[in-house]
Amino acid sequence: MPYVFNTDDEQAEMLAAIGAASIEELFECIPQDMQLKRALNIPAGLGEMELTAHLQALSVQNKSINEQTCFLGGGSYDHFVPAVVDALASRGEFYTSYTPYQPEVSQGNLQVMFEYQTLICQLTGMDVSNASLYDGGTAAAEAMLMAMSVTRRNKKVVVASSVHPEYRQILKTYFACIGSEMVIVDCGTGTTPVEAIAQVVDEDTAAVLIQNPNFFGNVEDVTLISEIAHAQGALLVCSVDPISLGILQRPGDAGVDIVVAEGQSLGTPLLYGGPYLGIMACRESFVRRLPGRIAGETVDRDDKQCWVLTLQTREQHIRREKATSNICTNQGLFALRAAIYLSLMGPQGMQDVANLCTQKAHYAAEQLTQHDRFELAFSDGFFKEFVVRDTQNDVQQLLQQACENNILAGLPLGQWYDELEDCLLITITEKRTKQEIDELVNVLTQ
């Protein structure tokens, strides 16, 4: 029992002060027939040394990306995480504190939230950001619910099939309960067909959801789609790759109404999928519909600048069933990581990392498609991911072959897109070297 400090004598003193004969007596309020009369059937407790050895043994059964070269992406990316991010985020004053309900003793976390919100606005070109949601997928779902509340349109939303398939699955789950229609627009050509969007968006549509760069890595015509949505009074919600904003036009400058993103790329390791960071930012006029916590600037009784949680009448602990969302615990520690990452990178660093990704991705695509076996599935401009078709239609064999050579070659797309059964999504981050890319090409063309 590692973390209880009171000795038997102290426990006896405490019981005496309470006026109880035993600890069991304190549980008398639980009817006897509800009490578990046996020990839980779980493994016996381990000391720190045995525990560490046990988890070390399980850990080494996993092949980490330090033992293989990772070309996998699809919403979770092997970007470089500077040591500063880990060092600062592992300070106990940050990671063992709670939500800043007492601002006088939480100015550190509140200022971080305020800085994070500002950094996200600077990166996306939006007016306001919240302080985090769970992940990119739930952020997209929350954004669509928010759009319905902003537009007061409950009947229908439109979603491009080039949005991350898992995000669309989350939306489907959320929407199944509220009875609104979700129209999927097929993006078989690699980007969202603008005419098809124009056909389905009508005056009942609350919002259109696209992703940019989309799930295939391709860059969408965001401005044009926003014009189509706005012409019908619908909002444009766009899920972005924050790293791409080092060189791509900011969504706020392209007519997007609500931006969401998976923030993992901003200083968080892969972690087998989580915890990550849901980013959400929007236009100023929607701020009272935003889900999640928001930090705001104010002054104290001595007129000193300070920060507090604000606009809390949106939230569940005040508004209960009328809240904008049920979110309570969020991803504060990962918002901190993103704030540290963006502060380190600055404008130049973000531009450089985005440039490295896209330069290297294009090099990889060119090298691979020099071989007859491979062709690009789409002709659109892509950022750091691209879809390559195996003309011999044996993606599994390719992946196997790569795996044997310690390479995670890419993501097979057939699991989500029937017509892309012979395709791989290959991701290149700034960490991939020319040598690693050449090796990938070598192995796949052996």
């Binding site: 988890l55 850990s59 996993n62 980490s64 500063v84 036009q249 989580g274 450089d352 401009g381």
Partner: protein, 490 residues
């Protein structure tokens, strides 16, 4: 020691041309990105982020951290949040390369160790809850509530029943009603009796063929175990409804009683409370849900399966009745790994001792404060109790006595209890010491609290006196929201 210049806003520290990183030049032939993208797709300039050197970034955030109270630095009896010690061993384990540096789409054969951990956690949570089928996917307690209510909706849909209403007592956490609405249900609040238990007569009035789910927190947010829970669950089941247990307070009953044994059909755990995942200044959490065998088929997918013939673990996506996904990838795995590690550190004996000591500490603190603070719900509690500062306010002419006492505690180096929740107790001060605090800490805290309630109203109303800021003007913050920094116009 705090350095006050370094805690200026990061934007005010910016100097054009500085950077905290220096990336290597590209090793592939350079091309012009303008050729790849449609016109207008590229930004005309880099995003206007601040420009800071690495040492300045370190100094800035390090100094900011010192402005927080935290479990590592302070006693933090924040009720309902279970602010217990966060073991350092779990931090080191969660950072192992083989656990932190793996991609969610890696083939199952390359992540067998991780899948074994997650499978083991599913099993242990099933045993601890008495509910056999588990999904680890939800990202926090509230997300678990939502997923479970969506699951209930799917279950009724399949049975061809149209049930529209979710009920919960007035002492329920705000996430319960908010989750109900997000899952498409109407929400009805059931009053509690003066002893804090659910008012069964009122509940009966609202139970009918529209009842989908009754959400109960047991032990409740008042820190009491509602011994009517079996009767309540029978009543709800009789009208065809389901029982959801909000498991935020599982710390009090680990190994002592199990929700599945007192009538719950579904529940969530808050591993960031019960199993000591660090709260991270507001997150991350996780919200695993456990359900009966009958409801198991509807859980979000995937869950981790074990294939007997090949003796390997796999992600089971072949679950046709599943409500689908509620989160991308597998969930908040890092939090789940810490929970696994925490449970294994304790074993069956240790888990029960957690509950015993959490309850002992709470009752002891109650015994030490009841002489000078009202505790309206009696002399015994589970892992937390709710005191009321109402009469102190009346004596002293204070309008917000709970808030004033809370603020004054800050001066003495204590994080205050949760105040103004639950809503059913006036001037509520909800204290949860947790099992990882010593008798000495509780004694010192009670002594301080006693001294505070005897202080003059002026001192209390003006508190805190020693923190880096005095009370902020929250009204102004909400009335004229300033939600980001903007460059000064001069």
């Amino acid at each position: 020691m705090r350095n006050t210049q370094a805690t200026n806003l990061i934007f005010e520290l910016s100097q054009p041309g500085r950077s905290g990183v220096c990336l290597a030049a590209s090793d592939v032939p350079k091309q012009d990105p303008a050729e790849w993208f449609p016109a207008g797709a590229l930004a005309t300039s880099a995003p206007p982020l601040p420009e800071i050197s690495e040492p300045d970034v370190v100094r800035h955030f390090t100094n900011l951290s010192t402005l927080n109270m935290s479990v590592d630095t302070h006693y933090y009896p924040l009720g309902s949040c279970t602010m217990k010690y966060n073991p350092k061993r779990n931090e080191r384990i969660a950072a192992f390369d083989g656990l932190a540096q793996i991609h969610p789409y890696q083939p199952a054969e390359t992540v067998q160790g991780m899948l074994q951990i997650l499978y083991g956690l599913q099993d242990m949570l099933a045993e601890i809850s008495g509910l056999p089928v588990v999904s680890l996917q939800p990202a926090a307690g509230a997300h678990g509530e939502l997923a479970a209510l969506m699951l209930a909706a799917a279950y009724y849909r399949e049975r061809g029943e149209k049930r529209t209403t979710v009920l919960a007592p007035d002492s329920a956490h705000g996430t319960n009603p908010a989750s109900a609405r997000m899952a498409g249900f109407d929400f009805v609040t059931i009053p509690s009796c003066s002893d804090g238990r659910v008012d069964i007569e009122k509940l009966k009035e609202h139970l009918n063929d529209q009842t989908a789910v009754f959400m109960i927190t047991n032990p409740s947010t008042l820190g009491l175990f509602d011994d009517q829970v079996q009767e309540i669950s029978d009543l709800v089941h009789d009208v065809g409804g389901l029982i959801y247990l909000d498991g935020a307070n599982m710390n009090a009953i680990l190994g002592i009683t199990r929700p599945g044994d007192f009538g719950a059909d579904m529940m969530h755990f808050n591993p960031h409370k019960t199993f000591s995942g660090p709260h991270g200044g507001g997150g991350p959490g996780a919200g695993p849900i456990c359900v009966t065998a009958e409801l198991g088929a509807y859980l979000p997918k995937p869950i981790v399966g074990f294939d007997d013939s090949s003796q390997t673990y796999f992600l089971d996506n072949d679950r046709p009745k599943s409500i689908g996904r509620v989160r991308s990838f597998f969930g908040n795995v890092g939090v789940l790994v810490r929970a696994y590690s925490y449970i294994l550190s304790h074993g069956p004996v240790g888990l029960k001792r957690i509950a015993e000591n959490a309850v002992l500490n709470a009752n002891y603190l109650l015994s030490q404060v009841k002489g000078f603070l009202d505790v309206p719900l009696g002399n015994r509690c589970m892992h937390e109790f709710v005191a009321s500062a109402e009469s102190i306010g009346k004596q002293n002419g204070l309008n917000q006595p709970a808030m004033d006492i809370a603020k004054r505690l800050l001066d003495y180096g204590y994080h205050p209890p949760t105040v103004y929740f639950p809503l059913t107790v006036h001037e509520a001060m909800m204290m949860e010491p947790t099992e990882t605090e010593s008798k000495q800490t509780l004694d010192a805290f009670a002594k301080t609290l006693k001294a505070i309630v005897q202080e003059s109203p002026e001192v209390l109303a003006a508190a805190p006196h020693s923190t880096i800021i005095s009370r902020p003007d929250e009204v102004q913050a909400a009335r004229k929201p300033i939600l980001k920094w903007t460059p000064k116009q001069d």
